[in-house]
Symmetry: C2
Subunit: 694 residues, 2 copies
Amino acid sequence: MATAEESLRQTLAEKQSAVDAQAAAVRSLKSAPGASPTEVESAVEALKRLKIEAGAVARKLQAAVASAGGGESSASREAFRVSCVNTLERRLFYIPSFKIYRGVAGLYDYGPPGCAVKANVLAYWRQHFVLEEGMLEVDCPCVTPEVVLKASGHVEKFTDLMVKDEKTGTCYRADHLLKDFCKDKLEKDLTLPSEKVAELKHVIAVLDDLSPDELGAKIKEYGITAPDTKNSLSDPYPFNLMFQTSIGPSGLLPGYMRPETAQGIFVNFKDLYYYNGNKLPFAAAQIGQAFRNEISPRQGLLRVREFTLAEIEHFVDPDDKAHPKFADVATSEIWMFPRDEQLSGKSAKKIVLGEAVSQGTVNNETLGYFIGRVYLFLTHLGIDKDRLRFRQHLPNEMAHYAADCWDAEIECSYGWIECVGIADRSAYDLKAHSEKSGVALVAHEKFTEPREVEELVITPSKKDLGIAFKNNQQMVSQALQAMKEAEALDMKAALESKGEVEFKVCTLDKTVAIKKNMVSINIVKKKEHQRVFTPSVIEPSFGIGRIIYCLFEHCFYTRPSKDGDEQLNVFRFPPIVAPIKCTVLPLIKSKEFDDVAKLISKLLRAAGISHIIDITGTSIGKRYARTDEIGVPFAITVDSTTAVTIRERDSKNQVRVSIDEVASVMKEVIDGQSSWADVMLKYPSHASTTADAE
Amino acid sequence: MATAEESLRQTLAEKQSAVDAQAAAVRSLKSAPGASPTEVESAVEALKRLKIEAGAVARKLQAAVASAGGGESSASREAFRVSCVNTLERRLFYIPSFKIYRGVAGLYDYGPPGCAVKANVLAYWRQHFVLEEGMLEVDCPCVTPEVVLKASGHVEKFTDLMVKDEKTGTCYRADHLLKDFCKDKLEKDLTLPSEKVAELKHVIAVLDDLSPDELGAKIKEYGITAPDTKNSLSDPYPFNLMFQTSIGPSGLLPGYMRPETAQGIFVNFKDLYYYNGNKLPFAAAQIGQAFRNEISPRQGLLRVREFTLAEIEHFVDPDDKAHPKFADVATSEIWMFPRDEQLSGKSAKKIVLGEAVSQGTVNNETLGYFIGRVYLFLTHLGIDKDRLRFRQHLPNEMAHYAADCWDAEIECSYGWIECVGIADRSAYDLKAHSEKSGVALVAHEKFTEPREVEELVITPSKKDLGIAFKNNQQMVSQALQAMKEAEALDMKAALESKGEVEFKVCTLDKTVAIKKNMVSINIVKKKEHQRVFTPSVIEPSFGIGRIIYCLFEHCFYTRPSKDGDEQLNVFRFPPIVAPIKCTVLPLIKSKEFDDVAKLISKLLRAAGISHIIDITGTSIGKRYARTDEIGVPFAITVDSTTAVTIRERDSKNQVRVSIDEVASVMKEVIDGQSSWADVMLKYPSHASTTADAE
């Protein structure tokens, strides 16, 4: 894609110089004393032609730049989003929180249908992950004492770089301003020289790696000012994204609202390992609120200050990351975007998961298994499988300790959005908490028979070192004990052959002479009964709000009303996600039909099916449109006292079902035991008459 | 009860003086020169008898004082609690949060079985209230800007009185210290004079009404010191219980972690009313975390700093609080503790709910309906219906605006615990937010025909008042306009007959003479098309953690193991609450049986039944005991390749069921479609052999 854009920029530059040259020619012709009108006219014509050609190339380039992230033009994406978001807000899927007080950026409420969708997504998550995989679910508080988040590194490092408007004090995220500037420049200035294009693209690519100073320098160099006021900006400085508070009445115990749920699991590792019979592997899971005090939230539900996370911590022996159920997902063919493809400017490609693991693209089976399970989870919810890709982290995105990391990214009108992170975090977290708390968070592997192992033992002679090095004795002693096996054995050999050897003591920054009597180095045989180790953790972490927003977009479409005078909105939620599973509508206002509707409602309630009765007098078409708009998959129209018509939302197909079968038919198709196609085969179809889309 | 205790105190005092008198008699006899040994001996005998009698009365009194709240003695309640809580903590139902960092008071994690119980309780709450009643569920953030909690009164009034240890700075709740002192004195000092007893009891009764000064004075008077150090205490001062934070990077927008979920619903009233088709009544509901920075949390899960609330706000026309479904609960007979019974020292009594409402004990049908629904909810979960009572708030407990308020209290080892509050809060909350936000949170009742109404119009004459009262003109004018109808009409009549009338202007603190030209008073006829009013709200508010803790206690019991050498722990959770519904256990280790167990597991998973397989080699009795201890209701023992034995946890009854029927039998009995008794009738029973409680 980059190449196509580059060649367009090249062509445009050429066309533009041709235009300039021709314009100059026209000017000189016109000013020349004896030019014939025909000559001038044809030169002007040529200039017009060239301008048209240049314009065409410019439009192509504009489209190429705008669609760099997706397939459609940015204008049509924007229009789609407006139409979808308007419907979501009007039907109270979500509401800006505290609206009557003019709201707070980055805080949203879920209204009734949104809240039901969220509950359904979480219930399915619990079914698909916790119950099917036998995970240990825990529920920890949001309020977290500082010591825990110091150990995890959040107190020191959970920051974004911020700049302030020097006059008004308004805060901005420094990287956002720089990125916006670069993107805007690339999109709007089509005549940029290619070196400048390359430079701006490079800045976007390395944005996350820039230090505060580098970021500040770029902002100065490009003359970036505050977007709202055009005032100058402060230097960037780190702002911690955690909401801070104080626990207890004394004011002496600082705390934070947790920025993720994972730490609650890590600190419980010891108890959970015991609960699991001291066996690995096992997974713990948690669903709960997390908090990030974003500097300038935007993009609606995608970047908010409080959100629901669902996280899994799968603890595994670092020497054995095989997964017994990997075969279940190995044949899935999934859009993947491995590191190499990204670095060589290629696109995502479909890969069979089993091959991705066997070829080493994905680091290990357990990581691969979770990629497969996440894929199944998201597509089952209604995410379009062709707008879902698993993108591998580039080396600069990954923490130094991580073994491998893949993000499930979903494409929506804002581009590709990271919705699930699946990271092999190695032993980092457990080690950090072991160290800080002094409680060993380790696993044991008991050997069936004790194993004989060789161990290097380095014993410095305190006395002889003391005589030789006086006050520096301890430094030398520690340096000797810190030697790796190879170095120690070399020293042993040298001491035996030469009796003395030179030894660099880094902490003293000098080289000392070690004599044979100062240290004894030996390989000792020992019997070991068990192996003690810190487990690795593989962490799939789900941003539930982001998944739900992308799901809204993937399920939304419009279709013309029957008489074609308006566009009707529909959410094609699968039954499992739909906030309400069916509507019961008496065709006309009558006591008889109302009674049947109430009976059906009772049967549905007994079957545990969420539904509403719509007995408003409005036309049946309008009532269908109203429920289509909140994604109700089935409508049960009461048009006789013995049987009803069931209509499916997307196909608008209808079948006749007797009243005593309605609840069981609905239950089967909602629970996924049969499909709508099965129902269509089994029951007589009913020709759509005047009902739909009046 | 108080009377029984009082008469015991009286008796004890009499016995004690008899003892003292007899002791004096013995002493004087012994020191008298000519006393016969027989005489002395019989006097000593008499003294012993009196001491024994006094001791017996003292023990009775002690028991009466200790059991004032419950039926059992405090020692046996304590022993029960220790046994229950030990089991809960050992099996990870809950864990002190951040344990490896030595924890934080008032914060707990739910471990795997506790988390499953919580999820089940919340799922049933959603079924029983939200789905069955068609409530509008919302989901609002925990982070709340200050303006919202200023309007609700929390910033100003959500406080507890605190005292500090003057040397160490340790904080205590002032009312707790005073209450503990009084209770301790009453329990331990059995010879208190009756006036002192009455005084201490009075202090406990009015504790919530004491001002900081009064509380401080009592603490000084009784010489109460810091419990841990015996240092003196500071004066009491109010401490706000909300966790404070700051929203956004500027530090200029203060916020709090919400102390309840209700405010999120109130601020959305306008949108929700619209969503409901602008019709009343309707209810909105919310489940979520709430936060209270308790001064000194104690009593385990009962008083914590972060907890899950489930709240309902039922909006209703203040002129019509009838409930269409009240008949469904009217025949329920429930333990109730009305205000009058409390004030007259009587006990709770069983009342038929319909009568409680018709006799005005419960203020209105809607309130009564929710009492009935809460009763059904709690008893269905497994709360003992005879240890559940609905206690009406006394006038001093209720906010001034509340129409009526009942707490569902559950008895546990800590006494009677408020678990659900059901309050008719009138229009208070909506009015407060209307005023602060400037957005009218009101409902409309459109009249089918416009109604003619009479309106009082008072029009002061600015000019004439100005001449008469100069600078005081405005005060007089406002006082005239503030007259109630009757007073205004009296003035009108007096002005017409006498031309002048005396009028007290409170804001001036004087009486002025009003003449006929100074004001015109008229009754004007107007047409009204609708009534605009602020709805009343009836709020059932559920402390989920408290309900769960009481449920744990009500479900816990112990029974001897088969050979009687130990007590085994059991939780008799109903299937709906049980964290795991059944265990699959191959009787002996064999590949055949393991395969059958795996097949059954697959069938159970397809049926959505949470279960575990226990293939450890331990004896079947030990495996039963292990699952009884986390309340698994059914055990499926694989003892052949065609049929299995299903054992019920509490009765230990067993039936034989073929493998292809297992999942459907389990599903029916877990979903509540059939009972265990039904299963026993339908399937051949299996004599318990060596299996149980080995």
